[in-house]
């Protein structure tokens, strides 16, 4: 969001982002408990500073490539809440009319080039978008978000090497929340820092950041985006964070030591950031107003999503091909 140019405005924007993502995800969870969310869903509760900071730092025409855990990354680019929520509910007014679901949020209009549910697949695809931007000289950057567990799949390796040799304007953001689905990533990874300790294998500098600190994430994001836009190639960022809830839907995340959970809950990015702003002299009323607006938006989006109809049969056969249809025969 280019408008957030002075520090005060930017910090409010960072707070706004995080609050909106938080409230949205909480609502998604409530709706799941009401049995209204169809299929699976993966929340970013606790990880909002990362998607939020990139949302503020990215240019409006930059590209986002997200995963199945992609609500936050999608909303952070300015996609309205209602169609995202409606997509989770499998409604016709969903972002993709219900055809994609929670794991495949896409809004090309906002630069959200898709959410990918096969581990690692979007990393080479983001390289392609970056290659295209480079060829077209558009100055756009592609940003791909992924988890710590994703660093062990082959596509990660191919994408990093490829991006490095072609000096592609792409930023790889590893959100290290310590866990894969239910397994601690350190138990199956040869190095302590799954992304940072691999950077040198691609001739890159390791970049380790506090993923729960929106200011630090904003600085790191800006540096990486600038570097990419300057033609200096990719950056691999490892942002340390923690998911507050389970991996998906009903996972109670019992595999995590309670002390660890407590420690990270105490480092919740949102209260920490609020305190920092207040300490820095920001008027609490401004923050309250942000929270209030965000909650109103979530409420309104919930109403709108719930009001959506089930998608009709005509959608089933639509858009397999560019001609709008599904026929495989002449």
């Amino acid at each position: 969001m280019d408008a957030a140019c002075h520090i005060g405005g930017r910090r409010l924007a960072l707070y706004d982002q995080q609050i909106r993502l938080r409230y949205f995800e909480k609502r998604a969870y409530d709706l799941f408990l009401e049995n209204l969310v169809k299929g699976t869903s993966h929340l970013s509760l606790g990880q909002e500073a990362i998607a939020g900071a990139f949302g503020v730092a990215m240019r409006h025409d930059d590209y986002t490539f997200a995963t199945y855990r992609g609500h936050a990354h999608t909303l952070a680019r300015g996609v309205p809440m209602a169609p995202v929520l409606a997509e989770l509910l499998g409604r016709e007014n969903g972002l993709m009319a219900g055809k994609g679901g929670s794991m495949h949020l896409t809004s090309v209009e906002h630069g959200v080039m898709g959410s990918y549910a096969i581990i690692g697949a979007h990393l080479p695809i983001a390289c392609g978008a970056a290659w295209s931007a480079q060829y077209r000289g558009s100055g756009q950057v592609a940003v791909a978000f992924f988890g710590d567990g994703t660093t062990n799949i082959g596509a990660f390796h191919e994408a990093l090497n490829f991006a490095a040799i072609w000096r592609l304007p792409v930023v790889f953001v590893c959100e290290n929340n310590l866990y894969m689905e239910y397994t601690r990533t350190s138990t199956v990874t040869a190095v302590p820092r799954p992304a940072a300790d691999r950077a040198s294998a691609y001739g890159l500098e390791p970049v380790l950041a506090d993923g729960n600190d929106a200011d630090e994430m904003y600085a790191v994001a800006t540096a990486a985006l600038d570097r990419a836009r300057a033609g200096e190639g990719p950056t691999l960022i490892e942002a340390l964070t923690y998911r507050h809830g389970g991996h998906s839907r009903a996972d109670p995340a019992k595999y995590r030591p309670p002390a660890e959970v407590d420690e990270w809950l105490a480092r919740d990015p949102i209260p920490m950031y609020r305190k920092r702003l207040v300490d820095a002299g920001v008027d609490a009323a401004a923050l309250d107003a942000i929270e209030k607006t965000a909650m109103e938006d979530v409420d309104a989006a919930t109403e709108e999503a719930k009001a959506g109809a089930a998608p009709g049969a005509d959608l089933l056969f639509r858009d397999v091909w560019a001609d709008g249809g599904s026929s495989w025969r002449n």
Partner: protein, 325 residues
Amino acid sequence: MAELTYREAIARGIAQEMRRDGNVLFLGEDVAAAGGVFKGTTGLLDEFGPVRVRDTPISEQAILGAAMGAAMTGLRPIAEIMFSDFFAVCWDIVVNEIAKSRYMTNGQVSFPLVIRAGNGGGLRFGAQHSQSVENWAMAVPGLKVVVPSTPADVIGLMAAAVRDPDPVLFLEEKALYPTKGEVPDGEVVDTLGRARVLRSGAHATLVALGNMVPRATAAAEQLGAGGIDCTVIDVRSLVPLDTHTILAEVARTGRMFTVEENPRLCGWGAELVSIVVEESFFDLDGAPVRITTPHIPLPAADALEDLAIPSVERIVTTVEKAMNQ
């Protein structure tokens, strides 16, 4: 006899074989400490320990490469690929390495291994977590492919697969995990390559697989009430394929309908239609008909997914229409 869920039958089937043979090892993502993302492998770590039941990184090529290398050097691994859609990230190990190496080496190496995967739709997981990929495998020479439809078959076919000297893809129907069924006490061992006739009818044969078996059976009940008396066959094993049973029933009834969850083109149904017409053309009273998911990626929304996958109602109306023509 005990009543088990399809989900519970998985762990029971694996445990039965791991108890019997110390060379049976099990590996996959989140399978040990967590008991599997579908809770299909709960208890295995406790019983067999972390040396035989191992959590892996998210590295499907390594998982199947490890299984292959272990199988060719004397072990009998069972590997889990969480969702069958993920075969796409390790397809080379499956089709170019495991499937071909015995033949290429003139029989020097054996691959007594089982690859389990959750298969199929119905859970509103969208196009990348809902595919029925049995046809991907059937099209590749050198792979055996089984798809159980009941808890008893899960155990019996798992035993047969583990004991088989060839690589077996064992596809578990995700939509069936919560379903229940009777399972005999004691050791349960089945045979690969045997279809099962679930119901014998005079007018038509419905041939179904996996999650489509209960639907075909329900459709046959309804059709019977309306005067169309159907045989229902559970294919169970695509390779080896029990053409004997299928051809006999189709010849007897004169009509065949396949009920397939997979997308339409080049499916096991097309193969069966081709075999039936090539070998029993003059026994047919009418054209074989395939009832399939249309040739589209699967949509996520419940309303759309339900329209895509063959329903009992669609089976009934398709059979009625064809039989009354």
